[in-house]
């Protein structure tokens, strides 16, 4: 994955670039908004990571300008502002995701990977997901594993759906809270963990190979370990 980091703080940018390269991605760096715009316009990037406050051209204007050029490269906004409506402003400007500073790199990486995957995905979502012997039918609201039906509560279904949609990718706790419960605050407790462990009890119990994996310091991942 090729990504462009537009960040004016040299140290933060160096850290991000290094960390993304270690994670196996190609990361370029632009030091201000105009440079970032020029590089992003050249195209070829899978994801843009844009700081909100930049010299010469601020992050929101950068993304807005790109969107006006019909450039739909997914963009994640980093912001030190954490006003209640900042997220909304960021998304309105054409951003695809929003992460307030300070953030954990694992969180940023997980979100960027999800954004990059979304770029390559077909426009319409499939009606079924399949990971190993685990099947989820979105239309029939049915989950089976190895042909045996698993009964799930509606919210558990949506949780599993989101995990399976991003099978093979790390999904963080905040991503789950945002996408399954549609809240963006910090729940302060391990409330998501409890939901995942409940789901895990239904999906993985009695099976030799677990589907739902805990990724230390990051979140969860659904993956078929058999293959």
């Amino acid at each position: 994955m090729r990504l462009l980091i537009v960040e004016d703080d040299a140290e933060a940018a160096a850290y991000l670039t290094k960390a993304f390269r270690e994670a196996g991605h190609v990361a370029d760096h632009a030091g201000d908004g105009l440079e970032g715009y020029a590089m992003a316009e050249g195209g070829g990037y899978d994801v843009l990571v844009v700081d909100r406050m930049l010299p010469r051209l601020d992050g929101l204007s950068l993304i807005r300008s790109l969107r006006e050029q019909k450039d739909a490269t997914p963009a994640l906004i980093l912001s030190a502002l954490a006003q209640v409506d900042d997220r909304v402003k960021g998304l309105r400007a054409g951003g695809d995701d929003y992460l307030p500073k300070p953030y954990a790199f694992s969180e940023l990486l997980a979100r960027v990977e999800v954004l990059a995957r979304r770029r390559g995905a077909p426009a319409s979502e499939p009606t079924t997901y399949r990971v190993g012997d685990l099947d989820l039918d979105r239309l029939a609201h049915r989950v089976t594993r190895g042909g045996t039906e698993i009964l799930l509560q509606p919210r558990e279904f949506r949780l599993l759906e989101y995990l399976m949609k991003h099978a093979g990718q790390v999904v963080t706790r905040t991503m789950l809270l945002e996408n399954v419960w549609d809240y963006h605050f910090d729940p302060q407790t391990n409330v998501i963990d409890v939901h995942v462990s409940r789901l895990r009890a239904k999906v993985d119990k009695g099976f030799e190979h677990p589907m739902i994996h805990t990724i230390r310091g990051a979140g969860y991942m659904v993956r078929d370990t058999q293959r």
């Binding site: 209640v84 409506d85 307030p100 419960w181 809240y183 409890v194």
Partner: protein, 517 residues
């Protein structure tokens, strides 16, 4: 200017207020300008009034003189008819000598005087029959004092001429009196007006100067200072009252900020020290990469906690300054409450409590979903943390929501130890943790944050005794719930009915009727 002495020595006032600045200031005051305008207008009116009176008096006197002259002429004409010119002359001779007599003169056709008491006349007067006003000299008086008179001149038969007239001295005197009165009264109006204007302007100016002094000392850091209220309820009082209210609010905000920084200093230093100690300890004692890794993991957890506290603090501060723009919307509170209860239900079960919901459908409030969700999450989280009942109690946490009149009542109740009455208002402050809860994880920010959210939504948060346990009750102004039909989504208009404006000026940046997000 008694304050000069007070303020002259005070180093806090940037610019002293010496007396020499007073006069130039005076001319620029509104009171002075107003009084000057009044002065001119009053003088003008007084002048007009006196002029009118004088003109009327003159007319009245003139009319009187004319009628006297008419009467004399009639009498003289009668005499002439009876006894010809000789008799007329005789009568005039006699009348002329009477004290206070009118003016009489009979001349020959060439103007030689035959009889009468008029000595000198402007030349040609007798050639113009009819009424004229002339200067004359009386033969009996001291000749050097000419007078003014209204006279009427007749051509008698044979070319003789008769002049009858009356002195207008009285009228002249009246004129002088009136002119003098006008002069004096104008002078008086001017002097009194000047004095009054100076007095009024000085009075007002003095109060404004006092206000300026107070404002300056407040700006210099004396936040306790308040503007003086004279108690008359006038405009300046009202202004001072409003400014004082504003100062009060600013003082509260400043105190809040002060408290935040104090608390931040205190409560963030502790975990920061822990973080530092942990890193040092790892450097000193860790033998294997695994130990180092564990220490680093611990440090990251510690840092995350710090960030969490920091975020919560910032959020509370923002809530208190009322700065959430464009993010109020019509919300289905029932959905939020049920969703939040569902989110926490497994956690409750894990804690050995059952989370019971009792939520009326279709409750509507105007607000920010994230904030209300967060507040509710904090309350439920608290109830699960601290709501463990004593032996034999009900292990139940109840989340209820219903509408009563124009208000939505939202409550989270547990059967734990509760909060003693005397501590109830204190626990809403930042970082306050009761001794009983010190052993549990947390920072003492959850309730403050919830209270801040509720205040921003024009609601109230009360802590009540659930006998036993704690019941947190939130009241929010109710509005009609948004339509659940997704087709009705999109730009919604806010129903103003039953959605009172947010409180005070602090939320002026959150007018109702914001576009939906």
């Amino acid at each position: 200017m008694t304050r000069n002495a007070d303020t002259a020595g005070a180093p806090v006032t940037g610019s002293p207020r010496p007396a020499q600045r007073f006069l130039p200031n005076l001319f620029r005051t509104t009171a002075f300008k107003l009084t000057a305008v009044y002065l001119v207008v009053f003088a003008l009116f007084a002048g007009l009034l006196l002029g009118y009176v004088a003109w009327n008096a003159k007319r009245l006197l003139d009319d009187q003189i004319r009628s006297t002259i008419d009467a004399e002429i009639q009498g003289l004409a009668e005499q002439q008819r009876l006894g010809g010119i000789r008799r007329l002359v005789n009568v005039i001779e006699r009348r002329s000598r009477a004290p206070g007599a009118s003016l009489y003169l009979v001349t020959t056709p060439v103007g030689e005087r035959i009889a009468g008491n008029v000595e000198a006349l402007p030349p040609g007067t007798l050639d113009r029959p009819g009424e004229t006003e002339i200067e004359y000299a009386r033969s009996s008086d001291a000749v050097d004092k000419p007078g003014r008179a209204i006279v009427r001149i007749f051509m008698l038969p044979n070319g003789f001429r008769l002049l009858v007239g009356r002195d207008v001295e009285e009228r002249e005197r009246l004129g002088i009196v009136i002119r003098r009165a006008a002069g004096w009264s104008l002078l008086l109006v001017f002097v009194l007006g000047c004095f009054a204007s100076w007095f009024v302007a000085r009075r007002v100016l003095k109060r404004i100067d006092d206000m300026t002094d107070t404002a300056q000392s407040i700006m210099a850091g004396d936040l306790k200072g308040r503007l003086a209220i004279s108690g008359t309820g006038d405009e300046l009082d009202r202004l001072a009252l409003n400014l004082n209210a504003m100062l009060e609010r600013i003082g509260e905000l400043m105190a809040g900020m002060q408290q935040v920084s104090d608390n931040v200093a205190h409560d963030l230093k502790t975990p920061l020290t822990r973080l530092r100690n942990r890193a040092e300890e790892a450097l000193r004692t860790a033998r294997s990469p695994d130990e180092l890794r564990a220490a680093l993991d611990g440090s990251i957890d510690e840092a995350d906690n710090l960030i969490r506290v920091f975020n919560a603090l910032l959020m509370i501060a923002r809530l208190e300054t009322g700065r959430i723009q464009d993010s109020m919307d019509r919300l289905d509170l029932s959905e939020i409450v049920s969703g939040m209860a569902e989110l926490y239900e497994p956690l409750a079960e894990e804690a050995g409590l059952s989370l019971v919901t009792n939520v009326a459908p279709g409750l509507g409030v105007l607000g920010n979903r994230e904030l209300i969700g967060q507040a509710l999450a904090n309350l439920i989280d608290n109830a699960l943390k601290y709501g463990q009942p004593a032996e034999g109690g009900h292990p139940v946490v109840t989340v209820a929501a219903q509408q009563i009149d124009g208000e939505v009542l939202l409550s989270v109740a547990d059967h734990g130890p509760g909060i003693p009455e005397q501590d109830r208002s204190r626990v809403l402050d930042r970082f306050v943790r009761l001794d009983a809860s010190r052993s549990k994880p947390g920072f003492g920010l959850g309730l403050s944050l919830a209270a801040g959210v509720v205040r921003l939504h024009a609601g109230q948060l009360r802590l009540e005794d659930n006998a036993p346990g704690l019941r947190v009750v939130i009241t929010l102004p109710a509005i009609a719930a948004p339509a659940l039909d997704p087709a009705a989504a999109g730009p919604k208009t806010v129903d103003m009915k039953g959605s009172p404006l947010l409180p005070g000026s602090t939320s002026a940046s959150n007018p109702v009727g914001l576009p939906s997000l």
